[in-house]
Structures are given as C-alpha cells and as structure tokens.
Amino acid sequence: MLLFTRCNTTPKPVEEEVPPVTLPMKMLSMDNLNDFRSSGENWQLAGDALAGLEDESPLQPLEGRGVIVNVPTETAREHLFTKFEHGDIELEVEFLMPKNSNSGIYFQGRYEIQLFDSWNVKNPKHADCGGIYQRWDESKPDGEKGYEGHPPQVNASKAPGLWQNFRISFRAPRFDDSGNKTENARFESVYHNGFLIHENVELTGPTRSSAFEDEQPQGPLMIQGDHGPVAIRNIRYKTYTQDSLHLSGLQYAMYDGNWTTMPNLLGLEAIKTGTSDVLEASPDPDKKDHYALEYTGTLHVPVEGTYLFETHIDDGGELFIDDQLVVFNDGDPGWGLERGLIKLKAGAHPFKMTYFQDVWGATLEVYYEGPGISRKALAAVKRKSVSGNRPAPLMIDSLTAPEMIRSFAEYGDGPTKTHVISVGDPAGVHYTYNLHNGALLKVWRGTFADVTGMWVNRGGSQLLRPGNAALETTDGPQVAKLENAEAPWPDSLSTAFKYEGYEVNSDERPVFLYTYEGVSFADLTQPTKDGLFTTRIITATTKNPVSNLWFRIAKANKIDVLGDGTYRIGGQYYLSLSNEEAAIVREGKELLIPIASAENISTIQYTLIW
C-alpha cells in the first residue's frame, strides 16, 4: 500500500521501513522477574505450561523462559506487582488456567478483572473469567456485602490448559488539584479471546481484595497469587498521559490546477487564502474539483519522543514537520491511507500539510499517536458519517436446524476472505469454512452470528462475525502431493485441486466436495454428540491407489504431542485425532496425515476441543 518509490521532485520521507499500524507496546520481560517487585517463591519462570482437563489436574510448567507461573503453596502465596505504575493503560496479556483455578489482574492494584476456569459455564457471573469483580462492604449484613460486580457479556472462556488472552483499555480515576476524585475509574473495553465482553463500565471504587484502600492517579499492575495456579505470558502495555498535540496559527492557500499526482506548489499563485482551525479537504464549498491546498501552522509537541502520523487522504497530500516529509499520500487511485514516523523534541515545530483534489471524493484527515499519548485526530472537522449512529446489531441465534450463510469473513490479520460459508448448529457450536480451498477457518460456541454487516442498509462490509469468541484454525491448501515426508507444504492452491460445491445430508448439514487428481473428498464438520465441540470427518474416495498424497490437519508455531492422538495446537486448542498412528508432526509445527494409499476409501477424523 505504501509507495515510497514514486520518482518525482518530492523528497523521500524520514523513515525508510514501513511504519507500524500503531506505536509499539512495551513488553515486560518474561525471562526474569526484574520488571516486578520482589515476590514470593510461588512465582517461577517457565517456557510454557500444560494443564489437563480432569479435576485435580495440576499446572505443569515446562522448561524454558518466556512464561511466569504461579503455583501457590501454604507458605508461599504472594501477589505479583509490577515495578511500573500506571494511570490510563492499554494492556494485552495471555494467561493459562488449570482446572478449577482462580486468579485476577488488578489494575492499579485495585480494580480486578477475574481470571477463572469458566469452561462451559452457561451464564457467567462477575466471579467468572473476564468478570469485573464485585466491590465489598464488610459492614453490610451477610448476603449484601458484595455489590457492583459485572459479569462478562458472554462467556468466551476456553478449556483448562489453553492459552487465552485479554485486551483491556483502562481509564484511571481523575482527581482535582486538591486530590478529590472528579471521575471514576473505567474499563473502556475488555476483549476476552478477541470478543468484547465489557464496554465503558464505571468503577465507583476498588474491587474486593484490592491491595490498597484508597484510589490514586497511578498504581502498579497486580496479579493475584493467593487463590490458585496460573501461567502468564506476553504482557504488553501502553500507558497514557492526558497530553495531546495541537496546531496553532493554521492558515491555508488554495491553488487551481488539474493534477493527478501531488504537484510542486512552488512558484504558483494562490487563488484564495485564509485561516482555519481545522484541517479540511474542502475549505471552499464552491471549489469541488481540481485544486491544491497548502496548510501551514505551528505544531505544539508536549513531550519528546517518536510520533506516528496517519493520514486518510483523497486524492493526495504530504505532511511536513520541521520541513521533513513525514507522510506521503500519493493520490492513486483516490482514497489512500498512509503512515509515517518522526522523532520530535518538545516545543513548537513548523507544520505544513499539502493536499490536492482531482475529482470526486475529497478527504483530509490526520491522526497521530505519541509517547504516552493515545491515538487522536489532529485539528479535525466534526463530521457525522452517512450511516449516523451505529445500527442496532442484527444477530442470528436460537436455531432449530443447521443454518448456512455465505458471506465475507475476517481471518487473522489478513485480507477479507470472500468465498466462505458459516454453518450454525442448534447444538450451539458453529464454524466458518473457506470454500476457496476447503479449509476450516473458525469454530465457536454460543450465539451463531452477527450479520449486521450483511443485511442492514446496503450491508457495507458483507461480514458475518461470530457471535462469540472464535477459535481460528489453519487456513491454506488442505491436500498436497509431497515427494517425501519432509517436502515443504505448498503455500498456494494447486491446479490439481477443484472445489465442486456441497451436498446437504439428512441432518441438514453441508458436506463439502472437492477433488484432487482423481481422488474425491467429502468434508463434513458437525458438533460432537454432547454438543460442546466440533468433529471434522473427511472421506477420500479413489478408484486407483494414490501415493504421496497428504492432508494437513493443523499448522502452528508449536504443537504439543500429549499422547493417545491428542495434541495441543499452538497452545490454542486441543485436537483429538482418530487413527493417529500414521500421522506425523513435522518440526513441532505441522500435523500431517497421509491419505491412505492402498484403500479405495479412507477417512480422516478429528475433534477440536477448546
């Protein structure tokens, strides 16, 4: 998307590499406990952790570094506090709960997001995983001591022994100069395994078992250590002050001309000049096409550091600070989004924004993020979108029979997938399948689908979103011919693969059909009998024996072989494979199984447990 290769008179921008989408998060070291205050012996270091599904299964730390593990005992049961203190913070953290365990993350050591084994809990309470724990008033009568607990909107919990994650945006309480609280603390958003479970929840005070009785602008992050074992890794965060950038003395000059790339405005005579307090694409409502603008002003930077700028421009423009080109938006084919980084010292800096409009849409928006400064818009025009307020969500749930919906779908960080089908089941276990290559993409439990993006107004996104936290499984070609068991798995689909469509069986479920060089496949995914998990059955039929034909069941950065045909894939889910004797795990990252060479019909069957 970024085109720094444009060869014209414009100087190259400051940074050569592709700028990030957001400024990097800070990471706590997981190789040692140096980022934490001294802790009890219950806190240890590990490389990974496992935990079984049965009652009494312990948390099993594995050798290595990168994970901190809590195994409390009678004598060692201390909490873990970070050395850093925070006010507003954006936090990402991964955690792994053994069966029946209990812990918590206390923001500022005071406000708890509960960590709990809530696997398969139907109606989560505040004390379930992801809940905002209740407050406690000891002086009240029994049964009324606990108050203001917030259960998660859905239970997005996974099975014991699987890595889960939170992404939390916390806003600290505000105080006046005399130290009186003027605003309550808030959890602005909490995502559990990628699904929103809390939005804008206000906290009137510290929750139960807070490490402090009072409230303060700053406080350390705390992980509860006295209730049960837990493994934690990948703690990333960004803390924010209340600083922002601002522009003063903003003026603009407008030029007339017919351009399709950013022109050189040097020497041209302005047809109009003016002052403005916003950066906008159309300061003159009568001039809609064929013009350029140059905004100049002073940018006031509160604190030194690296700033990330993001421009949304139609047709094109350049952002200069201190006469350096920070963001170059080239105007092809119309609307474009570009970013740029620049290191700035505190104080006033000359600011210049050039812009040109060819025809049609005209957009000029600048966003920024800075050191301890959350993402904001710079000198933006207040504007309502065409759709006005967010439409009420349109959900599909409470199915009485399997329901299929083709749509677009998101998957990982990659481009939108356009030929996918989602199948909802009355059992409450659902999946999304890639019709392009026959890959199972996602599975989830709970509400079937959010189709707001499909059937409200024009359905601008055409996205079907899972109705709960979805587990993403492995995309990519399912079947390949490998010269030998070590040959690399192809990235792209072979021309030998042909997707044919699907048939609906007597259970009203689709069976996907594809062929690969004379072998016919029938691919069925359905809930397990208990309605909790998903089983995939692939039947391969061939007239003639085939050799060297393999099926890739999973690919991940780590596959743990747990025995009896059970694997833990990427730490994210368990996979139970039938007839696993012929399956191989390659370099701990790929699980492959050969498609039986001697028989006419062979079956691959596996169950996903999460």
Partner: protein, 653 residues
C-alpha cells in the same frame, strides 16, 4: 362525551391521514389512477417472518414461482394468488443472489461470487445439492453485485458483473464490468465490457441480447443497449481486463479519453468498439435506476407483441419499450407504463396466468414505494388503453401508431404534437445534464386511412439524439386523451427513403442555465462582520434521508447553512414557505428535461433559499437570513423521487 374541541382535532387528524395516504400512492407520472383502469396491481401475501427482498424470480414446469432473496434464500410459493399462499424454503445460505433461472428440474442462481446449480435429488422439496458451476474473484467490496443467469438457446448462461465502488465505480477484481457466458460445465467466455451497474439483461425473440444500465460515472442516464461479443458499452473500468485470455476486444482503458465534449454516440464514430444504447431512459423522467427486462412475446398484455417491459428500482415503476432496427441497428422508444408499486422494482417474470410478477427490494437505496421489499402481480383486465402503441423513424420524421383510431382533427394537427431533442455528455462525471436541448418543428401531419397512424413530418432531426415526443393534443374519436402522451425515442439512425423537407427550418435553441440566484448566496455577506449567528448542517444519510428531521433557528438570524452529501447520489436542499413542500417537489419534477440543469429548483416564490445540486461526496454552503415570521419552514430534496423521505422542518422561533 366528546367536546367540540376534541371533535375538531379528530377531524384534522382524519384529514391529515387522508392526505398522507393519498401522497402514498407513489406517484411519478401522476397517471396511476388511470393506469389502474387497465392494469391492476395485486399484492402477493408474504408471511411477516419472511424477508422477501427479491433478487430473482423463476417458474418451474408446474407454474410454481420460486423467488431468491438478498438474504440468500430461495422460496417456492404455492397458490401465490390466494389469500394464504404457502411458502416453502427450498434453499438458503446463498450470498445475495440477484438472479434465478429454472431449467430441466434444477435452479440456477448467481451469487456474489459464484454461479450455482441447485437440485433436490431426494424429492423432499429442499435443495440437497449446491453445485458450483463457476466462481470468480471478489475484492470484498459490497458494490460488486452479480446478475443472471439468463439461458441461451444452446444451454449456456449469460451473467453480468457490477463494478465495485470506492467513491467512484471501479473494476477491482477480474471481469467486473463485464458480461460473461458460462457453459453448464463451467467454461467461461468473456463477451463484452463497459458495464457499470447492469441490473437487467435478457434475450429477445431473435436471440439478441439486451442489458439495462444505471446512471452513474460515465453513464449520463439510465439506458438499454444491444450487446454483442466484443462490444464496449461505455464505462471504461472493465477495459482493465481486455488483455486477459479470452477477451474479445483489445481496446484498453487508456484508449478512452475523458471529457472531450462528445456524446457516447459521437464518440462511437471515433472508437469503433463502442456500442451506443438502443434506448435511453431520461433520468428522473423515465426512472432513476433501470432494472429488469421482460419481453411480451405475444398480445397477452395488450397489443404490444415483441415489446418490452422494463422495471425501475428507484421510482417503483414499469416502463414499456418498442424497438425497431434501422440500418441494422436497434433503436426505439420508451413510454411510461405503470407506476405505484410498493417498493423498488427489480425483477419481472411471466406467471402461468399471464400476469407479470414484480419482485421488489429497496434496502439500502430507498424507492418511491415505501415498503422495504415485496412481490406484486400486474394483471391486465383485457381492456385496451388508448396509447401510443409504437413510434417508427421515418426519413423525414416519425410515424406514431396508436392503439385506437384518433380523432381526425386533433390527430392531424401539428399543434397536437411537440418534439424536443437532446443528448447526454460522455464523461467520467456521475450522470450528465440534458445537453444541447432544442425543439423540433412538426411541419405537417398525415393520418393513415384508418386513423391509427399519424406520420409526423419534422425538420432538422439529429442522429444520435434522444427525441422527446409529446402528443398531448391527440384524442381518440370518443374525445379521450392518451393514457400516456409522451415517450423518448433514441434516434441512432434515420432510415433511407424519400424525405419531405421544410423550406426553412425554425430552430429554437432553448437551453436553461442555472443563474446565480439570490436564493443561493455562496459567499458570506460582507455585512456580517461578526459572522453568522448560527450554523446549520444537514448531512445526507443512506436511504434518502437527511440526518436531522428538524432544526431550530431564531427568526431574523444570520444562518450559515451547510449541506453535506457523502452519499453516492445527487441531492439538493430547498427551504420553502410553510405548507408548500409537496407543491414545490411536484414543480421540480415538472421541470422535465431542464430539471437537472436547473438543479431541480423550480422558479417559484414558494422557494426561499436553495443549495446547488450536489455530486456524490461533496458539500455546499449558503448564507441567508432566517424569516422574520416564526413558523415551520420545510426543507426538502427535490431530486425526482427523493422528496417523499428527504425532508424536514426548519422551525423559526
């Protein structure tokens, strides 16, 4: 016991309800009541739980209709004309299919990304096989709609692929903007390109293919074009793929030069691949978003054998088209036919009882008919209306054929007729104003011996121009006027033959211009030294609405009024005197061909202030002083078809 005050209020309420319902007869041409005397609209009763946003209609061999919907379902409807039809869901999960066909026991539908064959193999009434015949890439852009399939006699199928939208139409993935042919085995052959929003296509009895196009970028107005392999029909985006294997044309995107001042017809003389339309539907007068085509194979629907019915999604209407071939090229005339459908007309299909099934949807686009979706039937009561049956080009004018004999005096008087001709510009802009409008003189009229035909002798005809043919003065011999007295004939060619000429032609150039009017002040008056007292901003919302249904201003205050149009259609805002909103909207509609050029602002004292007519993604700012007299001053968008929902009130206090 009702007191008098309550009684009066009840009367007022009743009166306003009646007024509201009469404005809900979805009038476009105002001829609905008259049309109803010959063609009645009957609703197919749809259960409330079924969101029947019709994308396609097909009948099986038993005459049972199947409807595919934008929500991906196929419904079979038994006893559709009864009070309680039976709806059975045959299939579901399809991705916004916008076309359905039935052949040899199987259904075929075009989804966004795939042509699919659906069969019920075990006979339980539900599809159990969804076979992928052919699929194509998508760019995850919602505007990439796909239409069809239409079966060719040899069993192959024709599909058309809409462009994506990125603030303008764009061909974001392979073959968008093309008509393609697919065999039942999934072999694909690209046929033609230049399409933008090809919502309807069909074959006539001769096997010639026609498709309908919607006004937009590069497309001056709605139109229909005869498509042949290798044609380029106007929007250059699809040319991006002309170099792909199988493409029948080598014309490149860079070969098309923008804004030369040509019409598409004129540019076709320079670029031979261009196929100009056979029939134009002037925007706002003959619909605003042309859709499905239905051929009348015989006289089942009136004396209109071989003519076509064409739907319009935005105006909820059906138009009628007569075509002929002159010098080997199709050209013809469109007439109004029926207005008043309950939602946006997308698909037309013949029922076994020879009624026309009308499939409708308006989600995301709004339409004159206010329902979100619907299925209606248009039924002919066998009474023949008094209409212009056909218009044929002559070497020196036009010959009008009527469905009934005309009165000799009225029919033979040139003053009963009016001809104007005009064209549209071919450029990248969204739509085109009516261009080079002139009036043509009818210098003589000759009636046939049975008074069923009137030959008009006209001077100065221009090929490539669209002729507005009005016969307002014509009556039949019972003194009745025509049900519809106008049509638009696209004169691609003038036939050879002996031509009578006038001694001198009286050209009357009458072009409207949008003068800078006192009602649209774009610069802040210099006397406003402290700026405006108040800024009012209206933003257009998707679905033909303003974001604010009410604004409040102080009487006599200085107002800076901003109209923001982030939508992808043309809009304006007029502020009018209290109680005049419908009269002004009607007057704007009646501006006819001049409407667009005048920004749809009628010359009326009822109009107090107005913005310009805004292109998509643009805004306008005007300055005015709010009225001194408090009251409710309505504001409205007068672009044809928008006024019913795009309105609000400026409360002056």
């Amino acid at each position: 016991m009702m007191n008098i005050k309550y009684k009066i209020n009840a009367l007022v309420l009743l009166a306003s309800i009646i007024l509201l319902s009469s404005s809900n007869t979805y009038s476009q041409w105002g001829s609905g009541d008259q049309e109803n005397k010959f063609y009645q609209i009957e609703k197919v009763k749809i259960p409330e739980s079924i969101i029947l946003e019709v994308g396609g209609i097909a009948f099986n061999e038993n005459g049972v209709p199947a409807v595919c919907t934008r929500r991906g379902e196929i419904w079979l409807i038994e006893n559709p004309t009864s009070e309680t039809p039976t709806f059975k869901r045959f299939a579901h999960g399809l991705h916004e299919p916008l076309g359905l066909a039935y052949k040899d026991g199987a259904y075929y539908c075009t989804q966004r990304g795939e042509l699919t064959k659906l069969t019920d193999n075990n006979g339980d009434g539900v599809a159990d096989s969804y076979k992928t015949i052919y699929s194509w890439p998508l760019a995850a852009n919602y505007h990439e709609y796909s239409y069809g399939p239409v079966f060719l006699p040899d069993g192959d199928m024709l599909l058309t692929l809409n462009l994506g939208w990125i603030g303008r139409g764009a061909s974001l993935s392979k073959w968008r903007g093309w008509m393609i042919k697919v065999s039942p085995e999934g072999e694909m052959t690209p046929i033609a390109t230049g399409m933008r929003s090809p919502a309807g296509h069909t074959l006539n009895a001769q096997g010639d293919v026609f498709y309908t196009e919607n006004q937009g970028d590069w497309v001056g107005s709605g139109r229909m074009t005869h498509v042949e392999s290798g044609d380029f029909v106007g929007n250059p985006e699809g040319l991006k793929w002309s170099g792909e294997e199988g493409s029948p044309l080598s014309l490149k995107f860079e070969d098309i030069v923008d804004t030369l001042g040509y019409s598409l017809y004129e540019y076709a003389k320079v670029v031979p691949e261009i196929k100009p339309p056979s029939v134009w539907f002037p925007h706002g007068l003959m619909g605003i978003s042309t859709s499905g085509i239905l051929i009348m194979d015989d006289d089942r629907f009136g004396p209109f054998k071989d003519q076509m019915l064409i739907g319009d999604q935005g105006h909820s209407t059906i138009m009628r088209v007569f075509q002929e071939k002159v010098k080997g090229t199709y050209q013809g005339i469109c007439f109004p036919f029926r207005e008043g459908f309950s939602s946006g007309v997308l698909r037309l299909a013949w029922g076994p009882d020879k009624s026309v099934y009308v499939g409708m949807t308006s989600r995301g686009w709004s339409s004159t008919g206010q329902d979100m979706y619907g299925l209606e039937r248009l039924v002919w009561n066998k009474k023949t209306p008094f209409e212009i049956k056909a218009v044929r080009a002559m070497p020196d004018g036009f010959e009008l054929e009527f469905t009934q004999p005309v009165d000799s005096k009225k029919g033979g008087d040139p003053a009963s007729y009016e001809i104007n001709d005009f064209t549209y510009k071919y450029h990248h802009f969204y739509g085109s104003p009516v261009t080079d409008l002139q009036s043509r003189q009818v210098f003589d009229v000759e009636l046939s011996s049975d008074n069923r035909k009137a030959r008009l002798y006209i001077s100065g005809l221009r090929t490539g121009y669209i002729n507005e043919i009005k016969a307002a003065g014509v009556t039949n011999n019972k003194g009745e006027t025509l049900l519809h007295n106008f049509g638009y004939y696209t004169l691609n060619n003038i036939p050879d033959g002996e031509a009578r000429t006038m001694d001198h032609s009286a050209h009357v150039a009458s072009e409207g211009t949008l003068t800078k009017s006192a009602k649209r002040v774009s610069e802040m008056p210099a006397s406003w030294v402290n700026g405006p007292d108040q800024v009012v901003t209206l933003t257009v919302q998707a679905g033909l609405k303003f974001d604010l249904s009410e604004v409040e201003v102080k009487a006599g205050s200085k107002i800076r009024f901003v109209l923001d149009n982030p939508d992808d259609m043309l809009h304006n805002a007029l502020i009018v005197k209290p109680g005049t909103i419908d009269a002004v909207a009607q007057a704007a509609m009646e501006l006819g061909l001049k409407g667009q050029e005048l920004g749809y602002v009628p010359d009326s004292d009822d109009v107090l202030y107005h913005t310009g007519l805004l292109q998509p993604d643009s805004k306008d700012v005007i300055y005015f002083v709010a009225p001194e007299i408090p009251g409710d001053y309505p504001y409205v968008c007068t672009f044809p078809g928008h006024a019913i929902t795009m309105r609000g009130v400026m409360k002056v206090k």
